[in-house]
Symmetry: C2
């Protein structure tokens, strides 16, 4: 099946207890695309500046990512600088330069408008709705958001939630959006906004999938060393939707299985800076860890 | 099999977003005993004052808890007052009156010295070691601790860990004890102190069981309403050891299954103040939720 992602492409500078990198490839659409590319073809819509290194473009193409929707704008690519400390549960943002991403108005190529699976990565809800209006009849649409838009575009966001199948959000944002500290209550409130299902990401504590009939919780894959958590959430979403798109399914059993794949794929991502760990693995590594993960939870 | 627990018996006053109770039955040994009593006979060693209400004593007896080791001391019973707010991840202690528990020197009745399963609830490591020296040849010994003893009796605690089979500790304490934020690293360091396995409790995020060969992570059972988290950790330990003692097993497969039973039993405990929810359920309720829990994680 065809999987469309619209989101950011960035050059990240990151410092963690494991080390430090400067201007490496990052951004929600990047992590999502690479993660999904293990199981499906990806169509990417995003924007970069004219300083975007050609090798990054080649890397995405080499992964079966169709970059016909990758706009090149005059000026500079989006930059983010951040650091992680201690348990690395949250990044400290040290600098953001939106550059061309600040003016981003996604243009969906005609050839992408029949996409069956759609991921609206973290972006203004107004833009997310605009993207959605250009896709003909998607089978499964999921979206993400962030604290900034919950604060500034709450009404637009809730309206968007009435138009998507699934909403993926982290635990702190779920509490912020709903005013509920209990995750099950927060999930229930979000389902009331309209999506068929909600996925609440809990970082190192795993994730919860909820629809009106059931709740499914899984831990994260336990790792002894986390090098860099940047992109974990988008890799998780990419692994999940890549698996769904690859299988062509979207029922609750498929969603549960996809959630576990997303968890496993995200666990690889955090083992290196940028895409370095992803670049060293193939699907057999993923299948092996998936089988260990399933075994780990058997009792 | 016979399961011995040594720990505190308290009168708790607790306030949570769900309500408020005054001087209700609490304490680590109480929660542990009741939780374990669903699956095994329990032998309790603890101390109360001469103000301890007789109905609490009767309640424990009615649950097959042998209170031959329940010492009645002159003076008052241990009191704790605390409150929980927001996500209720941690209690705020408002008042502690150790009373007779402050002078507690556990005496193990002769008839308890052949106990096969032993739980040394949170208490001074010096006392925990003393108890252990009075048990003839236990098959499985587990102990708990708390931040206070990690600070004040670190050497005694680490010595104790070389003498037990399993150590149960929460995530913050595991980080405090080992200086490691990563739970897998913290667990690995703890295994280096000597126990055969370690259980790291993560509250609403579930628990991790680790031995030198394997890691097992499970989420908590998702609940829409948590009334009072007091005693959750001791109920978890009680459910776990009660199940082990009831089955007579102690291999890794049995430990994994017992961990899941502990999780389910603890999930009932937090649905009411003190023992109120426990008092309203029986093993068929536990089996039903256990089966839902297992189903929830199947993918």
């Amino acid at each position: 099946m065809s999987l469309l992602v619209v989101g950011s492409i960035a050059l990240d500078s990151v410092e963690t207890p494991s080390g430090k990198v400067e201007e490496v490839l990052g951004g929600s659409a990047t992590y999502f695309s690479y993660a999904a590319s293990f199981y499906t073809k990806v169509r990417l819509v995003g924007v970069v500046g004219d300083d975007f290194p050609p090798e990054h473009r080649e890397l995405l193409k080499s992964r079966n990512v169709d970059i016909a929707g990758l706009e090149v704008s005059r000026g500079k690519t989006f930059r983010w600088r951040g650091s992680y400390e201690g348990a690395m549960n949250a990044a400290t943002t040290l600098d953001v330069q939106l550059n061309c991403f600040g003016e981003f108005e996604p243009k969906i190529p005609e050839a992408f408008r029949d996409s069956e699976y759609v991921f609206l990565a973290n972006c203004s809800p107004r833009l997310q709705k605009s993207v959605l209006s250009h896709v003909k009849s998607p089978k499964l649409v999921m979206c993400d958001t962030m604290n900034f838009y919950i604060d500034t575009e709450r009404k637009e966001l809730i309206d968007l939630l009435g138009r998507v199948d699934g909403f993926i959000i982290n635990d702190a944002e779920a509490a912020q959006l709903t005013g509920k500290h209990n995750l099950v209550s927060a999930g229930r409130t979000i389902l009331g906004y309209g999506p068929r299902f909600v996925v609440i990401k809990k970082g190192e504590h795993g994730a919860m999938l909820m629809d009106n009939q059931s709740i499914f919780c899984i831990p994260a894959f336990p790792l002894e060393e986390v090098v860099d958590p940047t992109g974990a959430g988008d890799s998780f979403a990419g692994g999940m939707m890549g698996h769904l798109s690859g299988s062509g399914k979207r029922d609750i059993a498929a969603l549960k299985r996809a959630l576990a794949f997303g968890t496993v794929i995200a666990s690889f991502n955090v083992q290196g800076f940028s895409l370095s760990k992803f670049r060293s693995i193939d699907t057999s590594d993923i299948e092996k860890r998936f089988s260990d993960f399933a075994e780990m939870m058997r009792f």
